[in-house]
Symmetry: C2
Subunit: 174 residues, 2 copies
């Protein structure tokens, strides 16, 4: 994708919407029909919310809330890592920009809301639904950071359970 | 404080900086010397970061990382609940505005960074420091929501450990 190439080649700050449109052979107007601004190219992740909603709704009845969330998050990891080079570049671009970090946290908050809503739909009590969703999203975020900063051969999805086990251990020290 | 009164009396959306300045007997120019916009009145929480930094630095040497974070967060609760009516109103104002929720998440992300940095300064390994800080801030945020939505006689600080114990329990189900 034109925007991605440019962000990687010349940096996020130096890339303008005009650059992106030129590279993609589009008008700026067409760009703005799809994205509110150049940042949104990094966060066009509504598919994550849609997929998580589906995964939670269709999970087997005998799973615990955190297990339902974990599986949804692991599937999201597989979606992300289907373009591993871009996903690593994206993590680096975001880590370098406080404003993009805010946007990332907001998107994660949105995903937590989606997951919690899906669990409540299944009859999970509100407190448990909220906690399981927040923990799943925290594990997702930390697994992404760790994967993006780690060796290229590492898979992201297994890191989610590693982080959740660490969370249990660290929380147990209180 | 003028802004707070107005947000409660006439709602956040309907309150302008001109209203706030008039009520406070200031010029708008003076308002903008202190705050970037009217939202920032809700988030003038740099004292939280400063206090947490101090609490982490001064914690006894024999505490676990999550215990250090928990105590810093409990102290922050006491700071917040010293104006309980305002803190409850504030939670309601934020819950009603997605944009303010984003800002709140960003501030929480900043506090997690502060706590993790403080732990690393004490020699806590990076992974543990990050996890303990993120869990402390998650417990803080969920305790705040629960406190703000609960009975007026409830204290906020004890809810932090309640939430952390729930986190351990829910994470253990994965």
């Amino acid at each position: 994708m034109a925007a991605r190439e440019l962000f990687v080649e010349q940096g996020f700050d130096r890339t303008t919407v005009a650059d992106i449109a030129a590279r993609a052979g589009l008008t700026e107007r067409t760009f703005f029909r799809h994205y509110a601004d150049k940042r949104e190219v990094l966060f066009a992740g509504d598919w994550l919310a849609a997929r998580m909603t589906e995964d939670v709704a269709e999970a087997p009845a005998d799973l615990t809330p955190i297990e339902i969330v974990t599986r949804a998050v692991e599937n999201a990891c597989d979606g992300i890592t289907s373009s591993p080079d871009w996903s690593r570049d994206r993590a680096r671009i975001i880590a370098d920009h406080p404003e993009l970090q805010e946007r990332e946290l907001a998107k994660m908050g949105m995903l937590a809301g989606v997951l919690a809503g899906g669990l409540r739909e299944r009859g999970v009590p509100d407190v448990t639904a909220t906690l399981a969703a927040e923990l799943g999203v925290l594990a997702f975020r930390l697994a992404y950071e760790r994967w993006a900063g780690g060796r290229r051969s590492t898979r992201m999805a297994p890191l989610v359970r590693v982080v959740l086990a660490e969370i249990e251990g660290v929380a147990g020290g209180a």
